[in-house]
């Protein structure tokens, strides 16, 4: 044993560089795997735990208060699987905005609830760093859910400004609470306000009711069907069309939505670990084979002395076990800061906070997996000493007589000796070279893929335009109902700053597909060919009134085909539509149709908005300001004008009237207002024709705030993968070069005595390795092009970029050359003097 340890130590010292690389690779794997194992369960349970913690309700149905009747609850009680139920009142402002930390307006819907109603939904403790007295002293205290706190980086005492119908309502942040519902910028945020403020909000926005129920077995209850049944009963009871006003938030869906992005992230990290460990596998196998070859004589001596094969195999295995131990320790240590970071990312992405538990057992499992893996591959390879009984080992073996056919005899050389020698060297290690080539291929694949993703995500907007599958123009306009959309569009187009104007329609009411109990949000365009971001991945856009297009995601989800007929319902009306195609991108649950198509099901439908595309270099903010001045006050401007601008008494009156009108239009769908106000003898009159704009948003800002975390996560993973791939290239080439040089050490000495220069020998090594790197990179490129092609088809944007692929290959080659040079440098130390014997 003593001897084995000594030999192992000597081996380690001899292969310092390779040992270090292996330690790094294993450390990287350990860090990733440990982080994934520890945080996976924790992050997955963030949402369910949060709900449990605050005794939150599981399934929610949100509806307009006007349609609500407490008698519905009795209908819910009739359901067998329902164990608990109830309802809570709150106020929803779908069109509300708020100011982000940079003071920009963000269209995020806001819900207001008072403490009494909040306690009917969940019992989250309200956490504050402030004292009771400080909170009581606040005029408009607000309690903010963690999702919003993280999004806007809010602290106690900060001002949080809500904008409704052009007026600003500043709140003071009293503290924070965990919430199970409305915790992200897409769904909106739920704010707990004082009773007094709640009453004010009731006047400004739409009172709504949340009906909730829990079931005995949330995992296995078909709550969707239950909801459909319940709503039908309510409709029958109330003789009202409810389907359009009810939004479902069902437990299982909420659970899977909450952790979706993080899960994806963790899966990618696991894939990365697998990739790196594959490299470790190749390197260890390669190294042990070489060591055995090289030390065949020492092995023979040991065997002659009476060492068993197992002892000698153990000697080789022990070396890698020590390396693995070092890697695992370093990796575990580096996982310690990574795990909380990952957990925090999970919190940010899901909008829920939790207390992380350190599952050290998971770290131990990760360590055991890696150690076991290394032990297994090392042992399996080291067992090949069986093939060398002492005599053969001592005579430098039988193996040497099994020479492969000499494929490239120098006799046939017509060109460079160096190239020929390189070819020979390559062929002699063919099998091992293939293993290394495989690693390089995978690394190239990863590098190309991730470089393209990284570069595309650098410019967030272009990336979002490419992948979301929704139209992202420069400015999104909502118009008042009486506005003649075509005339308005033509008028806007006269502005030289405007490149294109496309009419659009949006409705917050859903189309339902009853057979599959699915809901689709409508996106309405009369001429889809005008769009720049929405693309048909297959088929074509709808043109006729009976045609629709769904998304790629829904195609997979529901196994749909072009030409299928779907019967969609909108309210009480049902109509069949033919599927003409599927939209590319990551969007889902969306139905694209023409205005005529919509009118087929709802004759009152009108397009209600415009996409405005500005010319290159035009300032969006300035354009929006200019627009509001000409066509009506958007919320932000009206607020800014509140105190200023109006000089005369009459102007102030008009301004007040206009604010009232805009509030009525936005909140109650009022079409037209005439007013006449008598003050003393003066009559101030006007109408709402001035108002053509309901809102004007910079689409870009909207997207940026909503999807920043997603883009961030994609970029983070891409960069991690890039690092892993680079490490793989460096490590494999280094090990290959190192082994080749060591194996040829004596030969190089002989060659030097014949007059070969160091440069020639280095060139020979390079010629042996670099073409292999290139040969391995090519299939890697092909695979990545195929992969990116598939991704491109899915999102409908060609991501393949020849310069980027070239750059990725350049990186692989450069890393390979540097790494090969770094270890081939040692050839300088080869001396003819070593041939001297005495």
């Amino acid at each position: 044993m003593q001897k084995i340890i000594r030999l192992t130590r000597a081996n380690l010292r001899r292969h310092k560089g390779e040992a270090l690389l292996l330690v790094l690779l294993i450390a990287f794997s350990m860090c990733m795997l440990g982080a994934v194992l520890v945080s996976f369960g924790e992050i997955r349970d963030l949402f369910p735990n949060a709900v449990k913690e605050i005794h939150g309700v599981e399934n929610l149905l949100m509806m307009d208060a006007r349609y609500f009747d407490p008698a519905y609850l009795q209908l819910l009680a009739e359901e067998d699987s329902v164990t608990e139920y109830g309802y809570a009142e709150l106020v929803q402002s779908v069109y509300a905005r708020c100011l982000d930390p940079e003071g920009r307006e963000q269209p995020i819907s806001q819900l207001f609830i008072n403490q009494e109603n909040e306690r009917k939904l969940e019992q989250s403790p309200l956490i504050s760093a402030l004292s009771e007295a400080e909170i009581t002293a606040m005029e408009h205290p607000v309690w903010i859910p963690y999702g919003l706190k993280d999004n806007f980086r809010l602290n106690e005492g900060d001002t949080y400004t809500v904008l409704i119908s052009g007026r600003a309502y500043p709140f003071q942040v009293a503290g924070f609470y965990e919430s199970g519902v409305y915790t992200d910028s897409l769904a909106g945020f739920k704010l707990i306000v004082s009773d007094a403020d709640y009453r004010v909000m009731e006047q400004l926005a739409d009172p709504a009711v949340i009906v909730w129920f829990n079931t005995a077995d949330p995992e296995h209850t078909d709550t969707n069907a239950l909801c459909s049944r319940f709503i039908s009963k309510c409709e029958a009871y109330s003789q009202q069309d409810l389907n359009l006003t009810v939004t479902r938030m069902l437990y299982l869906q909420r659970v899977s939505d909450a952790a979706l992005e993080v899960k994806l992230l963790l899966i990618l990290m696991s894939a990365m670990t697998v990739l790196v460990m594959l490299t470790v596998l190749f390197i260890i196998r390669y190294r042990i084979s070489n060591d055995i070859d090289e030390q065949m004589v020492s092995i023979g001596v040991l065997e002659a002395l009476g060492y068993r094969f197992a002892d000698i195999s153990a000697m080789f295995t022990l070396e890698y076990l020590l390396i693995a131990a070092a890697g695992i320790l370093i990796g575990a240590a580096s996982a310690v800061p990574v795990i909380p970071m990952l957990y925090h990312l999970g919190e940010l992405m899901s909008g829920h906070h939790g207390a992380m538990h350190w599952h050290f057992s998971s770290l131990l499992i990760a360590a055991a997996i890696l150690a076991g893996f290394v032990l297994m591959i090392a042992w399996m390879r080291a067992r090949s000493v069986h093939r060398y009984p002492p005599v053969q080992a001592l005579r430098r073996g039988i193996r040497d007589h099994h020479y492969r056919k000499n494929l490239f005899p120098l006799e046939k050389t017509r060109s460079s000796v160096t190239a020929r020698l390189a070819m020979n060297g390559f062929m002699q290690d063919l099998r091992r070279n293939i293993g290394v080539g495989l690693c390089i291929m995978l690394a190239t694949l990863t590098l190309v893929f991730c470089l393209i993703l990284t570069v595309y995500t650098l410019h967030e907007i272009d990336f979002m335009r490419a992948v979301t599958g929704f139209e992202i123009s420069d400015v999104l306009l909502g118009v008042t109902p009486q506005t003649d959309l075509d005339a308005f569009a033509a008028e806007l187009l006269e502005d030289p700053d405007v490149r294109k104007v496309v009419p659009r329609g949006e409705d917050h009411r859903q189309f339902r597909w009853k057979e599959r109990d699915a809901a689709f949000m409508p996106q309405v365009y009369d001429d889809f060919s005008q769009l720049e971001c929405v693309k048909a991945a297959s088929g074509r856009f709808p043109q006729h009134e009976n045609e629709i297009m769904l998304t790629n995601f829904d195609r997979q989800q529901y196994q749909l085909r072009i030409g299928d007929t779907l019967t969609l319902s909108f309210g009480e009306v049902e109509k069949p539509y033919i599927l003409t195609g599927f939209a590319a991108g990551i969007s889902s649950s969306t139905v694209f149709l023409t205005g005529d198509g919509f009118r087929r099901i709802d004759p009152a439908y009108r397009n209600n908005g415009l996409h405005v595309y500005l010319r290159e270099g035009v300032d969006r903010e300035a354009y929006i300001r200019n627009l509001s001045q000409r066509y009506g006050k958007s919320a932000h401007d009206a607020m800014q004008d509140a105190g200023s601008g109006a000089e005369t008494f009459e102007e102030r009156i008009r301004q007040a009237a206009q604010q009232k009108i805009s509030a009525m239009m936005q909140n109650y769908g009022v079409n037209h207002v005439d007013y006449a106000i008598t003050v003393g003898d003066t009559v101030i009159s006007g109408d709402s024709s001035y108002f053509r704009l309901l809102f004007a948003d910079s689409t870009v800002d909207l997207i940026q705030s909503a999807d920043a975390t997603l883009v961030l996560a994609i970029r983070a993973v891409s960069v991690l993968f890039l690092i892993a791939a680079a490490m793989i290239v460096i490590a494999t080439v280094y090990v290959l070069t190192e082994a080749s040089v060591r194996k040829q050490w004596m030969h190089f000495g002989i060659m030097k005595s014949m007059g070969y220069t160091t440069k020639m020998l280095m060139k020979q090594i390079f010629l042996r390795i670099i073409p292999m790197v290139i040969a391995a990179a090519v299939p890697g490129d092909l695979l990545s092009v195929a992969g990116i092609g598939m991704l491109s088809d899915y999102i409908g944007t060609a991501l393949i970029s020849v310069p980027l692929i070239a750059a990725a290959n350049g990186i692989v080659l450069l890393l390979a050359i540097c790494s090969a040079y770094w270890s081939a440098r040692k050839i300088r130390a080869v001396s003819v003097m070593q041939l001297m014997t005495e």
Partner: protein, 253 residues
């Protein structure tokens, strides 16, 4: 036949062994003449190999100069030295340094192609040389492990002379061979010398030294004596042996 091809001027070579300076070659002046079969003798550790490596441009002297003709090779860079070895020197080692991953032909071509263009003539020339040194066609595609020690060493000699070097250096070429094989190798060397090849060979074996035309005896890093003989085979072997033996006895061998 008497021109000097290699010359040293106050050649010194020292090694530091664990901090202690060991002066192996001290102020050595020596001339190697064209056409000579020079043998360097001396006790083990007297610096024979060190001298040979300095002469052949494998190693640089610590002090002093080595001239090849008029060129001072001791001032050459490593790459210049490589070029010098490639064109002007051939080398035969004690241990049989063939590359074990190449067959006989490739081992020789590895050296030959450094200087000569690949051609069928070259291949033919090598085959003739191999035949001449008793390596039959059967062996040409064999690998070193499949040959005997003597066969290997003769392949080594063919590799050393294939580029027609000005000087053939040999460091105890028979040291690791049995006497019959050794004899074969020596015959080959004598044959080459007879055809006009200058040879510098290191040995501490009397039988080997008998092949020389000039024997140089090395002691304490300097030349302590020199003995000249007729080319091997042109005189009576017994008296040749006696003469050399007497010289070596004088030298304290």
């Amino acid at each position: 036949m008497d021109s000097v091809i290699l010359r040293t001027e106050k050649l010194c070579k020292s090694f530091s062994n664990g901090g202690v300076q060991q002066h192996v070659i001290r102020n050595l002046d020596l001339e190697i003449r064209q056409g000579d079969f020079t043998v360097i003798m001396g006790a083990s550790g007297s610096g024979k190999s060190t001298l040979l490596y300095a002469l052949s441009g494998m190693d640089k002297p610590t002090l002093g100069k080595v001239f090849f003709g008029d060129a001072e090779i001791s001032a050459y860079s490593n790459d210049q030295l490589a070029l010098f070895r490639r064109v002007h020197c051939g080398f035969v080692f004690q241990s049989i340094y063939l590359m074990d991953n190449m067959n006989v032909m490739d081992n020789i071509l590895t050296g030959a192609l450094l200087v000569q263009k690949p051609s069928e003539q070259l291949n033919a020339k090598i085959r003739t040389l191999l035949e001449q040194f008793g390596i039959g066609e059967k062996l040409w595609s064999k690998y070193p492990n499949q040959l005997s020690g003597g066969e290997c060493q003769r392949v080594g000699i063919v590799r050393a002379i294939v580029n027609a070097p000005q000087i053939l250096f040999a460091d105890e070429p028979t040291g690791s061979l049995n006497s019959a094989s050794g004899q074969n190798v020596l015959d080959a060397m004598t044959e080459i010398h007879r055809s006009g090849q200058s040879i510098v060979m290191v040995t501490h074996d009397l039988k080997t030294a008998l092949r020389a035309t000039r024997v140089i005896y090395l002691r304490d890093g300097a030349v302590s004596g020199e003995y000249v003989m007729q080319p091997f085979g042109e005189d009576d072997l017994q008296s040749r042996r006696n003469g050399l033996q007497k010289f070596l006895d004088q030298m304290g061998w």
